[in-house]
Symmetry: C2
Subunit: 462 residues, 2 copies
């Protein structure tokens, strides 16, 4: 019986005590956005530091100007990558409380009709349940073998649900201590209940607000209509011109840096059985928009977008007002992929906008901060190792997926600490995170722990 | 010396007493929107009825559910058209009072640097001074000749500045009494201080509000961007597609009923010396928008327009919100000319909009009431007579002009009483109507009175 097998056997036999610990942790009301729960947040940090230390990762609570961080270290004395594990101990508020079937801070296990079990509590999935999969894996590994197979640093924050204001200063102040070879982040979902996943690419974003001004005041559309420029029409022409009839974005240079996916990724995504009618059906739509000739999943994960998140100009009240407004506005965001450069995209967008604004009008821009897309090197050996470990545990090839939105911590780790991140989580889409009756499948918790044991073992191999 | 010459001579010699009467009238605080001035409105109506009666037009105050009407009749016993003269005795509020140099209800005459005199008071131009030009002309005519040269009915309302709520019921209830051959309306401007004008066409209007709905809720632009329809983009494409690159409106059938102006009108307008740079310069613009190959005055008066008076969708607050909104809105108005049919225009617009909305989205319309454009028959003999009379008085050919906006009373007279209107006024663009220090040029008052004497004389000719 290999060391790993022994560790996995211990995880199985210790599951009940693992659950007891998780329940203790879930009972702490660590709601970070509400100042009323400040002491609860500290209590959660202290519980976590003590539990990590008991498990064999010497940890401490570290003050910030907000809620504290928990940092711990375990030196294995072995070669192989030094990994940083990240999670967050804070949770979302629970309101509307009346929609919870039971107290959100009294965790319980419910057996569903199909016999499967779920853990119901605020934070059961996001992120206490997820982060404890790693802690329990480390505990079992150390208990069984006396050691972890690689050097491990852990970083848990208590402000993820409230914008992480202390994170940048803390990473800056503790750069040397926290810079490792690879980050492991457990805050994402599986592809589906049977298929584990690693998120390998996150879209970037850059935004801009455009203000088009024409006359020096609002005009009467009877007296000036037909002669004076109408900023609503100019904003509309800017928006309408963004895409061609095939859904491609028309801004010159926009696609510089967009990379085509490797064939094996495209093939994998095509094989994931993603049904865009189901996906869109849930929100009352049917037909995917977007560039023709691409997989729906490419649209969502791997192609850039141009979206108007807001636009306004003139009269919005009831009835009518015959006005030609002096100005009109639109807020744009561009999701970026590959090596698209946010600054260059913004410049190209502004040149495009200026080309659409008549001489009589002026245009102003209000910039929004941009961040490039992130992706792990598809040839990074840790990626293959993580994938192998997950596939072995779940009996299904792990999916390498994308993410249409952004996960700021991954950019911070990359840009501030120089680390790639492996995003591996066991949450499911139906976990109701941020909503009443949040749950985490017991299977996610159990096999999540086993997955991390396998991943640590795999990463330690030469 | 002809009868007209004698009337004109009397007008000149009576100018001081005409001014005394006007000042009495101007002192009455007949602000129709403010209930505090209800008694003043009645006092103004009573003053007017008494003064008309003294002048020889037997008149009375007629109650409505709001401020009263004044109606008078003078039977000349002569052939020729029976005319209805319309004006309004109510005035705008005076605030901000602190911007008036003197009490708005203490009229005074000021001599300007160039030696010209102006009458300063609320209502001096809009519309007390204007309507008194007719009353004084009638008075002088009757005093000098014992009679008016045509049958005259007068109608003065006291709610023009507050939406004329009593007008429709009053016209309906007194249709036979008020239906004449021609209406004379004195509530408009001259072309400039030297050039009198008759407004011969008013644009009509029809509006529609468009609501485009896509997903059943607002979406995260990271998770759905590129796949889900964005109503902002659809509204923008509807707006941007309204005009082609030459400024023509693209809605199929939109130009049905648009008539080309007679050559002599185009030639006259071209000769009016309208400077679109000056016109637009006052509002901070320079270059006329609108269909290529048309005079600027055609754009303002005689061509239809499509304007978006308001549009909105998504997030309008500070910063950014990465949302794809569930719906977006736009309010459209179309100025109509010639024989364009408001209902057909609305139908054509809606068909156009539906053609731009993708299958995944729905569109709703919120109709606004429409009214067709109005114009006096260019061959109506009264038009030529009015023009001749004005040209003779001012020593300059009277301009036949258009009006980009609407003047509801003209449509009411046309549709409810079957009368065309001659819109003749002596106000100037710089009269500051509705603003502090409203004025009326003494020359407008004096030559306005003389103009009406000439017009009545001219209308009486076979």
């Amino acid at each position: 019986m290999s060391a790993l097998d022994k560790v996995l056997a211990r995880i199985d036999s210790d599951l009940d005590t693992s659950l007891e610990r998780l329940f203790e942790f879930l009972k702490i009301k660590s709601i970070s956005t509400d100042p009323a729960y400040k002491a609860d947040c500290r209590a959660a940090a202290e519980w976590l530091a003590a539990d990590l230390t008991r498990a064999g990762i010497a940890s401490s609570v570290r003050d910030t100007t907000g809620h504290p961080m928990v940092v711990g270290h375990h030196t294995s004395g072995k070669p192989g990558p030094h990994v940083l594990f990240y999670g967050h101990y804070d949770v979302q508020p629970v309101d509307p409380l009346e929609l919870w079937d039971t107290d959100p801070f009294e965790p319980r296990i419910v057996t569903r009709e199909d016999g499967s079990k779920i853990i119901i509590a605020r934070g059961s999935s996001d992120d206490k349940g997820q982060l404890m999969t790693f802690v329990e894996a480390a505990r079992a590994y150390i208990a069984e073998t006396g050691n972890l197979p690689v050097d491990v640093t852990v970083l848990f924050e208590g402000e993820e649900e409230s914008g992480s204001p202390s994170l940048h200063p803390f990473l800056t102040a503790n750069k040397d201590e926290l810079s490792c070879d690879l980050a492991l982040v457990c805050d994402t979902t599986m592809w589906n209940a049977e298929t584990p996943a690693i998120s390998i690419m996150l879209r970037g974003m850059v935004g801009d607000e455009v203000v088009v001004k024409a006359a020096s005041r609002d005009l009467h559309s009877g007296f000036y209509g037909g002669a004076a420029q109408n900023p609503n029409h100019i904003i509309a022409s800017i928006i309408a011109g963004l895409h061609d009839e095939n859904g491609k974005i028309t801004i010159p240079g926009f696609y510089d840096g967009v990379i085509d996916l490797p064939d094996d990724i495209v093939k994998m995504w095509d094989g994931l059985g993603f049904n865009s009618e189901d996906f869109l059906g849930k929100i009352g739509l049917k037909t995917p928009r977007g560039e023709k000739g691409r997989l729906p999943l490419e649209h969502l994960w791997a192609r850039p977008t141009a979206e108007v998140n807001g636009m306004w100009g003139g009269y919005q009240g009831p009835g009518s007002k015959t006005v030609i407004p002096a100005e009109a506005h639109a807020k744009f965001t561009f999701r970026l992929v590959g090596d698209q450069d946010p600054e260059k995209i913004q410049e190209a967008f502004r040149a495009y906008v200026r080309s659409k604004v008549p001489a009589d009008c002026t245009v102003e821009f209000i910039a929004k901060e941009g961040s490039p897309a992130l992706r792990i090197d598809f040839n990074n050996p840790s990626l293959a190792k993580g994938k192998d470990a997950l596939s072995a545990e779940w009996g299904t090839e792990a999916a390498l997926i994308g993410c249409g939105g952004s996960i700021p911590i991954v950019g911070d780790f990359k840009r501030m600490l120089g680390m790639d991140s492996l995003l591996i989580g066991f949450a499911l889409e139906d976990d109701q995170i941020h909503s009443p009756n949040e749950k985490y499948n017991l299977k996610s918790f159990h096999k999540g722990i086993r997955s991390w044991a396998r991943i640590l073992d795999e990463l330690s191999k030469g």
